[in-house]
């Protein structure tokens, strides 16, 4: 036993152990330092990523140094790792694609945690942007996981990026209505609704002479956080104002015009 304690092998084990312990400590310190720097200068996702990369990089270096102290040939290990990497690469193509897509998402920043986005027919609040996926919470409280690869390929609509938003109310009025009076009534509704921004000014856009009505679009702006309240209150107030002014929102209808036959008596109307 005493002879063993003086052998080179034993000293190697001790040196490897010290190297590993120092490496782990250094990894922790570096992770903490990187975190403090990135927390104030970058987004949450970048900070998390930076901490992880720093930690595992230093840990890997410490591990490799410890193996070298033990006398192991790293070349053999690296060769085996290379073969393993190729095999895993084929198996993990999707994960790698998601990982790389995640990096692109973080650098491009089309959305951040807390914003509301619409992607592929799903609308929800962004809960997290992880390495492989983005998680959303829908408004009916469902948890949705969207792979980063899908996010990069799809069209993403960020509903809360800008501080104000426009609500477009499409409506139709009867052909017998005076359009000028309709405009006045709509503008008065917008003026009396405190959530409707005075500027940008509300707009009334002519859409079409449709089958049963004259179609208009009434566009009103609101602060982002008031969008839903405005949407609900405006429709109600427009309906009430139209009722007061006897402006009809018509049901679809058809007018039947009887025509006389080429011969014989005219049909009764």
């Amino acid at each position: 036993m005493e002879n063993y304690l003086t052998t080179e092998q034993f000293y190697g084990i001790v040196r490897a152990g010290i190297t590993l312990i120092l490496g782990i400590a250094a990894a922790h310190l570096l992770r903490s330092a990187i975190g403090k720097v990135l927390d104030h200068r970058a987004s949450v996702q970048v900070a998390i990523l930076g901490r992880r990369v720093a930690y595992y990089l230093v840990l890997a270096l410490a591990f490799a140094s410890a193996l070298r102290e033990l006398g192991l040939d790293l070349g053999v290990l690296l060769g085996a790792a290379g073969v393993l990497t190729v095999a895993m690469g084929f198996a993990a193509q999707t994960s790698a694609s998601n990982l790389i897509s995640g990096l692109f998402l973080m650098s491009e920043g089309p959305f951040v945690v807390g914003e509301v986005i619409e992607v592929g027919g799903t609308t929800g609040e962004v809960l997290s942007i992880d390495l492989l996926s983005v998680t959303l919470r829908t408004f009916d409280n469902l948890y949705v996981r969207v792979p980063n690869e899908t996010m990069v390929k799809a069209q993403i609509t960020n509903l809360t990026r800008h501080p104000i938003r426009r609500y477009d109310l499409q409506l139709g009025v009867a052909y017998g209505s005076k359009i000028g009076r309709v405009r006045e009534v709509l503008m008065e509704v917008a003026k009396t609704n405190p959530l409707a921004l005075r500027e940008p000014r509300p707009l009334i856009i002519f859409l079409a002479f449709a089958d049963s009505s004259v179609n208009l679009q009434f566009s009103v702006w609101a602060a982002r956080e008031n969008y839903l309240d405005l949407r609900n209150s405006l429709a109600e107030e427009v309906k009430e104002a139209f009722d007061r002014e006897s402006i009809e929102i018509p049901f679809p209808h058809r007018v039947i015009v009887p025509r006389p036959t080429p011969s014989g008596p005219s049909p009764r109307t």
Binding site: H162, I164, K191, A196, R198, E199, P200, W221, A223
Partner: protein, 267 residues
């Protein structure tokens, strides 16, 4: 609620004492405010969009009740409720964009002084330490946006003004504060004044001897064709007669602050 006779036009703000079981009632413009003190709770009720007539009336204590649909009630619990109640006006919690009824034109090198009013908030505080209980707009003004685009700018309140040029012709309302606004156009082109951003969070509320509510005077200087102006807080109104009753929400630099004073969209 019994409106009764027209009450004397006393200031509706100030310090009041409410005994246990007593109630105070205020009519300020279109707002009705009720404060009821019990031993361990104070109940605050308010109604907006009421009839603005018979305004600037208060009765403390009173037996009248605040009733009707639309009354918002909140109850505040205490181990022992304080006797002192403070009711005072405050300016808006955001900048207010003032829209003259008819646009003004201020030619290059000229300056004008006009008087405009902005809506007030009502603030209720209790106790010697003046613990804030509630604050609400007396009449909720509409929102508006001021900025070069819909992506960049500031959310403000909007109010319309007759923009009178003479102090004597300015109507007084108990729920609005008056500001003497001096606009200097030091740029080389004419300023078409369709809107002015009055950064009211930087202003204080003063009570004049005649019961009117004022802010400090404001000087807005436009030095270039840009829509940004430098706002400087001027002197309090009638310094020998006005008492400051509510300080500003924000503090400005002595050199003034840059505001999007005149900006329109897509300039």
């Amino acid at each position: 609620m019994d409106d009764g006779e027209q009450k004397p036009a006393l200031p509706w703000w100030g310090r009041f004492e409410l005994g246990v079981g007593e109630r105070g009632l205020w009519h300020v413009g279109p707002m009705r405010l009720s404060l009821t003190r019990q031993r361990q709770e104070i109940s605050v009720g308010y109604l907006q969009n009421a009839d603005p007539r018979d305004a600037r009336f208060f009765e403390c204590p009173t037996t009248a009740m605040l009733e009707g649909s639309g009354v918002v009630r909140n109850r505040y619990a205490f181990a022992e409720t304080p006797e002192l109640v403070w009711v005072r006006p405050a300016l808006a919690d955001r900048a207010v964009v003032v829209y003259p009824e008819d646009p003004f034109h201020v030619t290059a090198g000229e300056s004008i002084t006009l008087f405009c009013s902005t809506p007030l908030w009502i603030r209720v505080e209790v106790g010697a330490s003046r613990l804030a209980l509630m604050e609400s707009a007396i009449e909720r003004p509409p929102d508006t946006w001021i900025g070069p685009s819909t992506r960049e700018g500031e959310l403000c309140y909007a109010t319309q003004t007759a923009a009178r040029l003479e102090r004597a012709s300015v109507p007084r309302h108990p729920h609005r504060a008056l500001t003497e606004l001096r606009i200097r156009n030091a740029a080389s082109d004419t300023l078409r004044l369709e809107r002015v951003n009055l950064a009211v969070p930087y202003l204080s509320v003063y009570a004049a001897r005649d019961g009117g509510l004022w802010t400090e005077s404001v000087v807005l200087e436009r030095t270039s064709s840009a829509t940004i102006g430098r706002l400087q807080i001027g002197h309090p109104p009638m310094p020998s007669e006005a008492e400051r009753i509510t300080p500003a929400r924000l503090t400005s630099d002595p050199g003034g602050i840059l505001v999007r004073a005149f900006s329109a969209l897509f300039d």
